[in-house]
Amino acid sequence: MSSNGKKWFSLNLGAKPKTSGGSCSCGKNSGGCGGNGSHSHESKEPQLTEEEFAAAAINASIGEERTKDGFDQVFDVKMDRRSAFKKLTASLLIGAGAVSTSCSVISGEDSKEKAQIDWEEQFKGNYKLMNDEEKKATVDRLVRSYQLRTGKNISMSSKNAEEDVLFGYAFNISKCQGYMDCVNACVEENNQDRNSQMQYIRIHEMKDGKGFNFDEADDNYYHEVPAEGHFYMGTQCFHCDNPPCVEVCPVQATWREDDGLVVVDYDWCVGCRYCMAACPYDGRRFNWSKPEVPEAEVNKNQHYLGNRMRKKGVMEKCTFCVQRSRAGKNPACVEACPTGARIFGNLLDPESTIRWVLENKKVFRLKEDLGTEPKFWYFMD
């Protein structure tokens, strides 16, 4: 059942090579999908396409019975070994499908398609190891699934890292005033759970004259800023070049992309939270319950590795807004910052602002002694 060339186990219950469109989905009764010749007869080639296989399987299981009734259906059946095997397979598949969807047999076409998508999503592979076609297929499934569930359309990208791009970030401590516009922009852009008030960015309010003393800093303040005698410093995922979180993941559900972004495949994560324990920068967040975003506030411009809707029990984190940065835009926090304290860009481009900052300012990084090589620098005017 696993398709060739993949490095993981995948159960394709009649996966459609094309995007879901007008073509019949395999969950349908074969009688209902007219216009496609391959459904009316059993295919003779040894190599069935998946669509044909599904149709054949259903045909094999209930094809004869449609013309007979009652007693005859059960006993008056021609059967050779091949069709017996097919029957078994078909009933297994149908049974498994029924279990996973809880009685889609009597429900409408939509719920059948939904069930089919759920099934394929449950047993798909790790995004990191997918080829572009498979990436596109899963993105299409997710878009369709969202459409079926809410009736709304979203756009989701599976854009890969571009060549000669390595993203980096710089933070100007002199400029930050603690307005937290970046935090709000981040939450809205990245569809973070509103119930638990999950935030990727933490702004630490520090006392003047104490240096970078995180112990006495407050990352959860509710008063007017800038507060007298304080300065502000933001932290988030630093997208380390040598990320400890990636090493420890038992299933490679998190990894460093070629453009330096450390990302998570939310569907592959098993939720063990080992990466959270391994991160020295408090850069990771966990969905302790089902994340909820009011429908009206959902950002519909999404990326598979970025701000698409997450589920209960998986990790997530800052991706430098992969849906924006790979489209040539600045992350939401950079755009939202009213003071210009945040600078983002391509480290491999000698003309970029970030390169200018690194070359002309006295920059430093946090916890450099740990050897994590963060791509997030701090500097002062």
């Binding site: 449950q122 939720g271 302790w288 998986v314």
Partner: protein
């Protein structure tokens, strides 16, 4: 074919044995079943609503489950303290006790796996972790090492006693050439499971409280104190409740093991405390939090200040031969030592690792009732499994269960 028949008969006989017993036995099993059901109910709530029903947060992301897991790996590893003298050093004394020890290891490992699964955010996608069909991040992730060694150890500890009991069940002697290689392997394996589990924490540069070279050895020392201490208590109960003969000599020998391990453990504790408090650095904050509290946050103080005196008291009492050889004192010492190490290697190790957080934030952790319910349920599961295994093993060893003896 014959073996299959024998196996069938063994299963039948064992089912027969475990469903019959004294009134006390039935009450015991009923209580365990009830606690397990309560645990399952709590777990169902957790599955439905997510891990938010536990006390864990983004700040303290591992809690009671992982604490118990860590401790129980140690208990499982302790079976080796009995295996080694019996099979490898040919010390007959222990032979009676060793089956019990291995049964204890099996149930401890089952509890370990249950705790890990209970801690997972997505148990429905756990197949991602299976080598072959999932993606197994070996050898980079210590968690994958842990999966391998724990399951390997479980396999060893099921097969060796099973082989011996299977032979005895048929009234035959077990061949040492078959089980001794396995026993020797399991000796090394036991050390491996606990070292690997320690490396799980020790390898994280983000958590200075765990990132110290003594963690692994200290895990071993505490495990070899707590595990055999539990075995002594279990043997004492078995001796009282069944006809199974366990000589005083055996218990005294295990007591010796407990004593030495507890002494080494105490020395390591002193070394750790010295390092943290003689010249405290930024990295000693977790230890400060654990032992004295930080900025008025002191949730762990009652726990650790229960554990340390119990630990010291037990070790001192055990050190004197006269006291150790008095069984009443011995059982008391074993009990308090077990409790002390459960606190120290569980709660006292996992929670302070996260406090203060990477940027000094102190957010305390307190398990919820649901979390406690699941934990108790898993402990009940372990006790249940152990009772079944022990009852069958004792039946066979006493000659009550024999193939074709009706």
């Amino acid at each position: 074919m014959r073996r299959l028949k024998v196996f069938k008969s063994l299963v039948k006989d064992s089912l027969d044995t475990i469903t019959h017993g004294s009134r006390r036995y039935h009450i015991w099993m009923a209580v365990l079943t009830f606690v397990m059901l309560v645990g399952m109910y709590c777990y169902a709530i957790q599955l439905d609503q997510g891990l938010s029903v536990t006390g864990m947060t983004d700040r303290v992301s591992w809690g009671l489950y992982i604490s118990n897991f860590t401790f129980l790996v140690g208990v499982a590893a302790a079976a080796v303290m009995l295996v080694m003298p019996t099979y490898v050093l040919k010390d007959i004394d222990f032979k009676q006790a060793v089956l019990i020890g291995e049964g204890l290891a099996v149930s401890a490992l089952i509890m370990c796996l249950a705790f890990v699964v209970a801690d997972m955010g997505g148990p429905s996608v756990l197949w991602h972790m299976l080598p072959g069909i999932g993606v197994f991040n070996f050898p980079n992730s210590m968690l994958t090492w842990d999966v391998l060694v724990l399951n390997g150890y479980l396999f060893l500890n099921i097969t060796i006693p099973f082989y011996i009991l299977f032979r005895h069940y048929q009234g035959k002697e077990s061949k040492s050439s078959v089980y001794v290689p396995g026993a020797i392997l399991s000796v090394f394996w036991a050390v491996a499971i606990h070292l690997v589990t320690a490396f799980l924490y020790q390898g994280l540069q983000a958590r200075p409280f765990w990132n110290n070279a003594l963690l692994g050895p200290r895990f071993l020392a505490s495990a070899f104190a707590a595990g055999p201490a539990l075995i002594i208590l279990v043997l004492a109960i078995i001796r009282n409740c069944t006809e199974f003969k366990i000589q005083d000599k055996t218990i005294k020998k295990i007591a010796m093991v407990v004593t030495v391990a507890a002494q080494i453990n105490l020395i390591m504790l002193v070394s750790e405390l010295f390092k943290e408090f003689y010249a405290p650095t930024h990295h000693s904050e977790s230890a400060y939090y654990l032992f004295f509290g930080l900025h008025g946050k002191d949730a762990l103080l009652p726990w650790i200040w229960t554990a340390i005196p119990l630990n010291v008291l037990a070790t001192v009492l055990l050190t004197f031969h006269k006291l150790r050889n008095n069984f009443k004192v011995l059982f008391f010492c074993c009990f308090i030592l077990f409790i002390a190490i459960w606190i120290e290697k569980g709660f006292g190790l996992i929670v302070p690792g996260f406090i203060p957080g990477p940027y000094g934030k102190i957010a305390e952790y307190l398990p919820t009732k649901i979390e406690v319910g699941v934990t108790l349920g898993i402990w009940a599961l372990g006790a249940f499994v152990f009772t079944i295994l022990a009852k069958t093993a004792i039946g066979i060893e006493l000659g009550k269960l024999r193939y074709k003896k009706k």
